[in-house]
């Protein structure tokens, strides 16, 4: 067993046993369910909207080269520079170079999961740059030196008491259990940072090919400040973020808001097409777009799973996932948690090391039903299981299945095995679930099904013998 699997199992066990944690996450999500259902109900047809969104994204992904070129041409014509990064390292090195060449001293960031994916903050800090996360949830987990717990709600695992304690320690604030007061403490702490930063780093929710714009969705206003005040704006954009037309946003902005946070529309949806233009009064002097591949093209090459590139990172699949709700966000050990993370992480980071995530699923399909772009998530988990087995079968598993197949195709031996099972069943009850139990892997958390007193064969003989049909 690799250490990644062992760590996953250790954390999953720990969080699952933590009833308080589970109850806290459930409570946080219950408000989301209500708001999401209300926002869905405001649509004339949420299901048709999903279909259209799925088709639009799928079209974009299937003409990715064409749309990326159009996007690049349009936004470069307006003074932005586009850098194409094949790997995480290329993206990091480029951003470091921009910082160095422009004598940047302080950097402010708005929320971007793609930067978590390439471990950008570590790289910047190692080179001596101060980096501040400006999204409240991200700021809280940054102060705790933790990664985001959830790709949309980064600090949903923390209580206000924990956050108050953190702010007292890190910011010297007075204790309070009022979420509003806590938010104002962060607001005040951040104000100076916006005014002083010379580089703002953001992500993008969408990249519009037709008009050469990136679109950023947020509630707090931190991304708007990050992209308005500093003299350099760097936007880190996965290549799969393209949409063909500006008008497509009329569909995607409300869908992202509904699926992501149960809002009809997120507070700020901003489209940026270049740095400050000659007739404008403010905005950055430079705008750099980093288009990141980082193995997305490998996912693209898998025609069966190509639709996963339609993901808009709304987090809806996490919020409904029974696994996520039990093991929490940290057990996954991935940038992207929950069902979508379990599907794409093996592609982005190696199937053999991450295939265990495909089994961390009940295959209930709640994720597939929740996905606003209709990614067939639970079937992709099954496909990943199959692909992992094809690539490198686990010997014990292979032998067990061979033995099982042989047993099932030899009825006399099967009957003998069942008869033996009846003899051993009462003996097993003595050791059930204990360290002596040979089937402990199964029985320590589950009940062993009981053998029926008579097999189907025996019953058939008995009943049919009595009443010939």
């Amino acid at each position: 067993m690799t250490s990644i699997v062992a760590e996953f199992q250790r954390l999953a066990r720990r969080y699952t046993a933590d009833r308080q944690h589970r109850a806290f996450i459930q409570k946080g999500l219950s408000g989301y369910y209500q708001k999401r259902d209300a926002a869905k109900a405001s649509f004339q047809s949420w299901e048709d909207a999903r279909d259209l969104a799925a088709q639009t994204k799928y079209d974009a992904v299937n003409h990715l080269d064409q749309y990326l070129m159009e996007f690049t041409e349009k936004i470069e014509a307006r003074g932005a520079k586009v850098f194409w990064a094949s790997s995480a390292k290329e993206a990091r090195d480029f951003i470091l170079r921009v910082a160095r060449e422009n004598g940047v001293r302080s950097i402010i960031k708005s929320k971007t999961m793609t930067s978590e994916e390439i471990h950008l903050n570590d790289a910047l800090e190692k080179e001596g740059y101060g980096v501040i996360e400006s999204d409240l949830g991200e700021y809280i987990v940054q102060l705790r030196k933790e990664p985001p717990y959830h790709l949309v709600f980064p600090a949903m695992h923390l209580t206000r008491a924990q956050i108050s304690e953190l702010f007292q320690k890190e910011l010297g604030s007075s204790p309070t259990d009022d979420p509003e007061e806590l938010t104002m403490i962060a607001r005040r702490a951040m104000r100076r940072k916006y005014c002083e930063a010379d580089m703002g780093i953001s992500g993008a929710n969408f990249a519009v090919a037709e008009t050469g714009m990136i679109s950023i969705t947020e509630n707090e206003g931190n991304a708007r400040l990050t992209t308005s005040l500093p003299r350099i704006h760097v936007a880190l954009v996965g290549i799969e973020k393209v949409l063909p037309k500006l008008e497509n946003l009329a569909l995607f902005l409300p869908m992202l808001a509904t699926a992501g946070a149960g809002q009809q529309m997120t507070c700020y949806n901003t489209m940026y097409g270049g740095p400050r233009q000659p007739d404008e009064i403010d905005g950055p002097e430079q705008m750099h777009i980093v288009l990141l591949d980082n193995r997305r093209t490998e996912l693209l090459a898998d025609a069966q799973q190509r639709d996963t590139l339609g993901c808009i990172r709304c987090g809806a699949c996490l919020n409904v996932c029974p696994i996520f709700k039990n093991i929490g966000g940290y057990s996954y050990g991935t940038t992207y948690q929950g069902p979508i993370g379990s599907v794409i992480t093996p592609h982005l980071r190696g199937l053999q090391e991450w295939k265990h995530l495909s089994s961390a699923s009940s295959l209930c399909g709640a994720c597939t039903e929740a996905c606003p772009v209709k990614i067939d998530l639970h079937h992709h988990l099954l496909q990943n299981r199959r692909n992992a087995a094809r690539m490198k079968a686990v010997p014990a598993e292979k032998i067990s299945f061979l033995a099982f197949a042989w047993l099932m195709s030899h009825p006399p031996i099967y009957r003998m095995a069942v008869a033996l099972g009846r003899i051993f069943e009462p003996l097993h009850r003595l050791v059930n679930g204990t360290a002596l139990d040979p089937m402990r892997a199964w029985t320590k958390t589950r009940a062993l099904p009981k053998l029926a007193p008579d097999s189907f064969h025996q019953q058939w003989k008995k009943h049919r013998g009595g009443k010939p049909s």
Partner: protein, 232 residues
């Protein structure tokens, strides 16, 4: 530093050589490339909006209430000035920022606080110390209760987000039914001569739910958003 453009494009084209299967999980009649029957297919599925101006203003008002946007309809400039003066007096405002349009200037005529105009640039700290920012907008969106702004229509990028109270002045002729219509307006207005570098839909005052998923207004942007709608 060498750029990976050609490499990435080659990888994409190689990956796409395997023909796209139809979307595995969707079979919509309005396939975007299949020449769908409707010009704006999303309109059929998104939240419905009434056709008359009256219905749209009523929807905007009810959405505003849900979003905690303060919405005022004013028949005259004088009535709008009264709304503004009341806000300024209640908040004890000393300085407000704005940009020059006929309606913003009329709104601030004879107002008590001093005025910072961003038309020819501004110092960040100066803008940050303002009690409110007063801007125009591109249009209002009835469907979402939102306001669409751009760099030219809102005095730049920061005026509408840095001060703690954002006041928008709009005309009833600026009401648009939905997001689709707002994008159409932007295309018509700027499509030929170049878009502004900044366009934004503002839907309510700044908010966060990052602490225990409890709603708090004024996370980093304005705590309050006031829309003053003037009759044409």
């Amino acid at each position: 530093m060498s750029d990976g453009k050609e490499i990435i494009l080659r990888h994409i084209r190689e990956a796409l050589r395997e023909n796209p299967a139809p979307h595995p999980h969707s079979s919509h009649p309005h396939a975007p490339q299949g020449g769908g029957s409707s010009e704006h297919p999303q309109r059929e599925w998104l939240p419905k909006v009434g056709e008359t101006l009256g219905e749209q203003i009523a929807l905007f008002a009810s959405q505003s209430e849900a979003l905690k946007t303060e919405f005022h309809r004013c028949a005259t400039q004088q009535a709008a000035r009264e709304v503004f003066s009341r806000l300024a007096a209640e908040g004890g405002w000393k300085k407000v920022a704005t940009h020059s349009t006929p309606d913003t200037l009329a709104l601030l005529e004879g107002c008590a606080p001093s005025i910072l105009k961003t038309d020819n640039g501004y110092q960040i700290d100066d803008l940050e110390s303002c009690d409110a920012g007063v801007t125009g907008c591109e249009c209002l969106v009835a469907q979402t209760g939102g306001i669409m702004i751009s760099a030219p229509s809102a005095g730049g990028r920061a005026l509408s987000v840095l001060p703690p109270h954002h006041i928008v002045i709009a005309r009833t002729s600026q009401m648009r039914p939905d997001l689709t219509a707002a994008f159409e307006l932007i295309q018509q207005r700027y499509g030929a001569n170049g878009f502004p570098s900044f366009l934004s839909f503002i839907t309510g005052p700044s908010r966060t739910g990052d602490i225990e998923r409890i709603l708090v207004l004024g996370a980093h942007g304005p705590k309050r958003l006031t829309v003053i709608l003037l009759e044409n």
